[in-house]
């Protein structure tokens, strides 16, 4: 019998499964944080979660609203200064995976969190780069998770805040001391991976009940599908229970604060 779950839950569970036990993960706030903590509470108890506020190996009971919530510090092995976090731990090569969200992503997995429109007269001003530009290049690899929509998945981002593979797909070629870059993008519809040669994102797995047309309609370029297109495994009862408990705990805590 198949379980009932939402497309958001499907996305979180699939993103969580991307993290392997024992990996060291530099976590972005929001969806990546939800997925990373779900991984830690299910199949990857030894995953090491690092947040840019300096909290090293943190095990929050509830999801933080901000990147510097006290919960992250109180449940961390230790907390270091922010320069140390970026210099020693990230730039020093101690991070396996950077887990990021974004406002806009293009076919070469470049990320835009700076603005929509023109830089001098933006239509919408977004928060900016934060930790992402260096997380994306100094981490061993990058996972990206966000909801699928035509506004978010565009052919060319308005501004490359954070490097995927550059505007021509060659942005990492011959650059020394740089990570592999985005290795998977997890949405509420599918999983994408970069083509090994062109680096253009290709759908490798469709979530249950999602059609190719659904993905085509929600993507702002002519999206390609892998020859061996897979079906993403459904969430397990255990994963759904733990995710729902985590979100309920978080909501209760934030309503009280």
């Amino acid at each position: 019998m198949s379980l009932e779950y939402s497309s958001s839950e499907m996305m979180s569970v699939t993103a969580a499964r991307a993290l392997e036990n024992g990996m060291t993960c530099f976590v972005g706030i929001g969806l990546p944080s939800e997925a990373a903590n779900l991984a830690r509470l299910t199949h990857a108890p030894e995953v090491v979660l690092i947040y840019e506020s300096g909290t090293l190996q943190t095990k929050p009971e509830i999801l933080p609203l901000s990147i510097g919530d006290g919960e992250l510090c109180e449940s961390a092995l230790t907390t270091v200064a922010v320069p140390e976090m970026f210099r020693y731990w990230l730039q020093g090569g101690k991070v396996d995976v950077g887990f990021l969200g974004t406002a806009q992503i293009d076919r070469f997995a470049n990320l835009n969190t700076t603005l929509i429109g023109d830089y001098k007269s933006p239509k919408v001003r977004l928060p900016g780069g934060g930790g992402a530009p260096e997380i994306a290049t100094n981490a061993g690899e990058v996972f990206i998770t966000l909801k699928h929509s035509k506004r978010a998945f565009v052919k060319d981002v308005d501004f490359v805040t954070t490097l995927g593979f550059g505007r021509d797909g060659k942005g990492r070629d011959n650059v020394p001391n740089i990570g592999k870059g985005p290795t998977r993008v997890i949405t509420d519809l599918c999983v994408m991976k970069p083509d090994p040669d062109s680096k253009e994102l290709v759908v490798v797995s469709l979530h249950p009940g999602v059609s190719r047309e659904d993905v085509i309609e929600a993507t702002g370029w002519e999206i390609r599908f892998a020859e061996q297109l897979e079906s993403t495994p459904e969430p397990s009862e255990n994963e759904l229970t733990i995710l729902r408990e985590l979100k309920a705990r978080t909501e209760r805590a934030h309503a009280d604060a």
Binding site: E52, S53, S66, P127, G128, G171
Partner: protein
């Protein structure tokens, strides 16, 4: 040697119109009481530096204190936009504000370089990012030993840095606990510094590797109880996530913002 001053007198003495000011605290220990005092004293044309402008700079920008903002992530954490920052950048209200944006790694390295007395910070950053095309303070240099191309940004050297901390002793030595951000770096990088504290104690009761800033490296200490609210002070009080959410509606509209500022900052004397 740090002098114990009232918050009013510390701000009056060290924050001049046109100054470059860094009010730091990475989500934690944000010096809101000091920010409100700067607003009350109607300081103008400030260059405001902060990794995350947060609500504190949203308030200062909306109050007309800022001429320029240097930052690396300008959102309301976990909520959305900083509407006063956006209104100033997009529509020039209350006046046009210049922005210079970096990444967190760049700002963190720039604070550290400022504390170290260096003119620049060098790091492996901005690879493939278009931020260097809109920020002329981002350059690339070649490592003289390996030839590797590395990013360089000028160090941060504020006229005055302002931070909040748990406590100081009677000699003005300050203990910072929890998420320590770039606060120590900000103080050491600046010409002058003001540290607001929850309380002054006889004994810091610290341990050998704690983050302690010696009193002789600080210009002024001012007591500001609950001085970090709506952010938090580890060990004293929690972050008001509720206020951060409420701020979205307050700041979205110029009139509600102005009314909020009047009631909670200008009319609140030194208590806000």
């Amino acid at each position: 040697m740090a002098e114990l001053l009232s918050l009013h007198d510390a701000v009056a003495r060290y924050v001049e119109d046109g100054a470059t000011v860094a009010m730091e605290g990475f989500t934690h220990l944000i010096p809101f009481a000091a920010g409100h005092e700067v607003i009350r004293q109607k300081k103008r044309d400030l260059t405001l530096i902060r990794m995350t402008p947060d609500i504190i700079y949203d308030q200062l920008i909306g109050a007309g204190c800022a001429q320029k903002v240097i930052f690396s992530w300008g959102g309301n954490p976990g909520v959305g936009s900083l509407h006063r920052l956006r209104d100033a950048v997009e529509k020039g209200w209350p006046h046009k504000v210049e922005i210079l944006e970096h990444s967190h790694a760049a700002m963190a390295c720039a604070f550290e370089a400022g504390a170290a007395g260096l003119p620049l910070a060098v790091f492996r950053g901005y690879i493939g990012s278009e931020l260097p095309s809109v920020n002329d303070q981002i350059k690339f240099i070649e490592c003289p030993f390996t030839g590797e191309r590395l990013a360089a940004v000028p160090s941060v050297r504020p006229d005055v840095s302002i931070i909040h901390a748990q406590r100081a002793d009677r000699q003005g030595n300050v203990l910072v606990e929890g998420i320590v951000g770039v606060q120590k770096e900000a103080v050491l990088a600046a010409k002058h510094s003001i540290v607001t504290v929850e309380e002054i104690v006889d004994d810091l009761n610290t341990h050998p590797n704690a983050c302690v800033i010696p009193g002789w490296a600080i210009s002024a200490i001012a007591v500001a109880e609950k001085g970090a609210l709506p952010s938090y002070t580890h060990g004293y009080y929690d972050r008001s996530n509720r206020f951060y959410k409420e701020w979205d509606a307050i700041a979205r509209d110029r009139d509600t913002f102005t009314q909020w500022l009047d009631e909670n900052v200008f009319k609140a004397g030194g208590q806000a």
